[in-house]
């Protein structure tokens, strides 16, 4: 579905990404992980066409994304970014903005179909009960859901998410990712998301790409990517990787300085 070849880009002369090759097959969930400053968000911004690549190409269904018109691209790719939306809009008004890519030239009002799609998406993400509340007056978790609802209202084939679980408690983290998984299973939505939490990436992603200093260090299934050698090399911190007893996916455990000292003494 999405195919990135030899991509290099950066801001203001400073190159951030080098020679990125990444494939996002249709109907899969692909996670991008990596240390702070490794270029995860930049990669996402390049895919959503906020940044123009210096070299290489990004193809969506065989078409270069820079050859696709703005409106058409927005009907194919929807982005859930970290930005805080305008606070005085109600949830419903906010979600309805997701229908903008479907407006015809001189159309000013939403059609009944637009309202229905928005309602459906709010129901899916469980924010329908909040539809008349201002975005500024709902909790962080609910706001994230509203953002996802707006992205779904675009009826995209590919959903990009930038750290959808930041600032959320564990219940909401799992809630959001469960929702994404459900959307992936039921609606065949392809998902590419940046995640900070390695264990969530391991649990929910079909494939993971690990970025390090602007390059793809390794990509593959969670089992292939998440082993202690790779992680220690990229993150420069000591970890232990175990198997999650429930899902038997890799589970990354952290080791504090005290524990490391203790180990050293014992040895």
């Amino acid at each position: 579905m999405l195919c990135i070849r030899g991509l290099g880009c950066g801001y203001y002369g400073r190159q951030i990404l080098w020679d990125i090759n990444l494939e996002v097959p249709a109907k899969e969930i692909v996670g991008i992980i990596g240390p702070n400053g490794s270029g995860k968000t930049t990669l996402l911004r390049t895919i959503s066409r906020l940044l123009k690549p210096k070299e290489g190409s990004i193809h969506l269904d065989g078409k270069d994304i820079w050859q696709i018109k703005c409106g058409e691209l927005a009907r194919k790719i929807a982005v859930v970014s970290q930005g805080s939306p305008e606070e005085t809009l109600t949830v419903e008004e906010f979600v309805l903005l997701g229908r903008i890519p479907y407006f015809e030239g001189l159309q000013f009002l939403e059609t009944n179909h637009d309202f229905e799609v928005a309602k459906e998406c709010m129901a899916l993400t469980d924010v329908l009960r909040l539809k008349d509340r201002p975005i500024g007056r709902i909790s962080g978790g609910e706001r994230q859901l509203a953002l996802i609802a707006r992205a779904l209202t675009q009826e995209p084939a590919l959903l990009l998410l930038d750290e959808p679980t930041t600032y959320l408690d564990i219940a909401h983290q799992v809630g959001i990712l469960d929702l994404i998984k459900r959307l992936n299973r039921k609606m065949g939505l392809t998902v590419l998301m940046v995640l900070h939490d390695l264990n969530l990436a391991s649990e929910y992603c079909d494939r993971i790409a690990l970025l390090s200093e602007g390059r793809v260090h390794i990509q593959g299934t969670p089992q292939e990517v998440l082993n202690y050698k790779v992680i220690e090399e990229v993150y420069k911190t000591v970890v232990v990787v175990e198997k999650n007893p429930v899902s038997s996916k890799p589970y990354v455990l952290l080791v504090s300085e005290d524990e490391r000292e203790k180990r050293k003494k014992k040895l």
Binding site: A74, R75, S81, T88, L89, L97, I100, P101, L106
Partner: protein, 338 residues
């Protein structure tokens, strides 16, 4: 949400009714009071009595001009506040009025109006406004991207520079020129040239229509430029066109009537409180609201101490400012919210 469309229609009808009401009121009051039934009679019979002359040669042109200018300034304000996502921006923030003022001052000082006729005043003002708008714009474009925050800062600086230049011009000009400059800067809706009035009407309405082509983009821009791009909005094109529309509306208004403050700042705020933040209704209601506001203010300006006429800018500032402060403190509304 069906009801939302009806609500918008009701608001529009309300504002249109308000425009008609205040226009009728403004037609009948003045140093010579004309009762409403006489107005109707004068319109119907088309005879050239004194009432007819006062109505059609004195009062109606002013009302039409106030409608056009009030609408233009409020529309320009709401567009710029939308593009900049900053509720404190107004049409004069970007230095466009300063440019127009310099143009007019130079015209007065060099007596260009004696050679080229009185029409050269608005022409010079408009050229000055265009020059500043183009200058501010070109300073803020980097690699084909219009840097909105840069535009705002340069605009504010250009305003300061131009007001200093105006002071300089005033300091070195002669007493009778000084009077003309001060008179122009204070702003007045007295305009003897009917063609200019019709032209400003046309410009304001064309501006309104063009701005509606971008109402959806403005709604998306409220989320931020990047989010708007994610929604498939051609952000650069929208910003550019909206800036041009707002500049032309402002430049045109300022060069014809001088500097009438406050309409472009207060009206968009009040409209946001009344009709909400959706630009599909906000643009139209701001236009009509600005028109109503300026017609009222101009009527006050010419009736309060008849036969002397107050500068209309004084009234817009006093009425608009105090009403706005009152509303803000009474209802505890956040500055940006409805």
């Amino acid at each position: 949400m069906r009801s939302r469309t009806y609500q918008w229609a009701v608001w529009l009808l309300f504002f249109i009714a308000a425009v008609i009401t205040v226009s009728c009121f403004s037609l009948s009051v003045g140093s010579f009071f004309i009762p409403f039934k006489n107005i109707v009679a004068a319109i119907l019979h088309r005879k050239s009595c004194a009432e007819h002359v006062i109505l059609f040669d004195v009062r109606l042109p002013r009302i039409l001009l106030a409608f056009a200018i009030g609408g233009s300034l409020a529309l320009s304000g709401v567009i710029l506040q939308g593009v900049f996502r900053n509720p404190l921006v107004e049409p004069y923030t970007l230095g466009i009025s300063g440019g127009a003022a310099i143009g007019v001052c130079l015209n007065i000082v060099f007596h260009l109006n004696r050679w080229f006729g009185i029409l050269s005043l608005p022409v010079c003002g408009f050229l000055g406004a265009l020059f500043v708008a183009a200058f501010v714009y070109s300073l803020s474009v980097k690699k084909g991207v219009l840097k909105i925050q840069g535009l705002l800062l340069t605009g504010v600086m250009i305003s300061f520079i131009s007001s200093s230049l105006i002071m300089l011009i005033m300091a070195v000009s002669r007493a009778e020129d000084l009077h003309g400059i001060v008179f122009w800067i204070m702003g007045s809706l007295e305009e003897p040239n009917n063609a200019l009035i019709l032209l400003s009407l046309g410009v304001s309405i064309v501006g309104l229509i063009l701005s509606y082509l971008f109402c959806i983009s403005l709604n998306a821009l409220a989320l931020g430029e990047e989010e708007a791009m994610h929604l498939g909005v051609n952000v650069e094109r929208s910003k550019r066109f909206l800036f041009i529309i707002a500049s032309l509306l402002t430049g045109f208004s300022v060069s014809i009537v001088g500097i009438i403050g406050f309409v472009g700042l207060v009206i968009p705020h009040c409209m946001r409180m009344l009709v909400g933040r959706d630009h599909r209704i906000l643009l139209g209601s701001s236009f009509l609201g600005g028109a109503v506001f300026l017609i009222i203010c101009d009527t006050l300006a010419r009736t309060i101490i008849t036969p002397v006429e107050l500068p209309v800018g004084v009234i817009t500032g006093l009425v608009g400012g105090s009403a706005f402060v009152y509303v803000l403190t009474r209802k505890q509304i956040p500055l940006k919210g409805k």
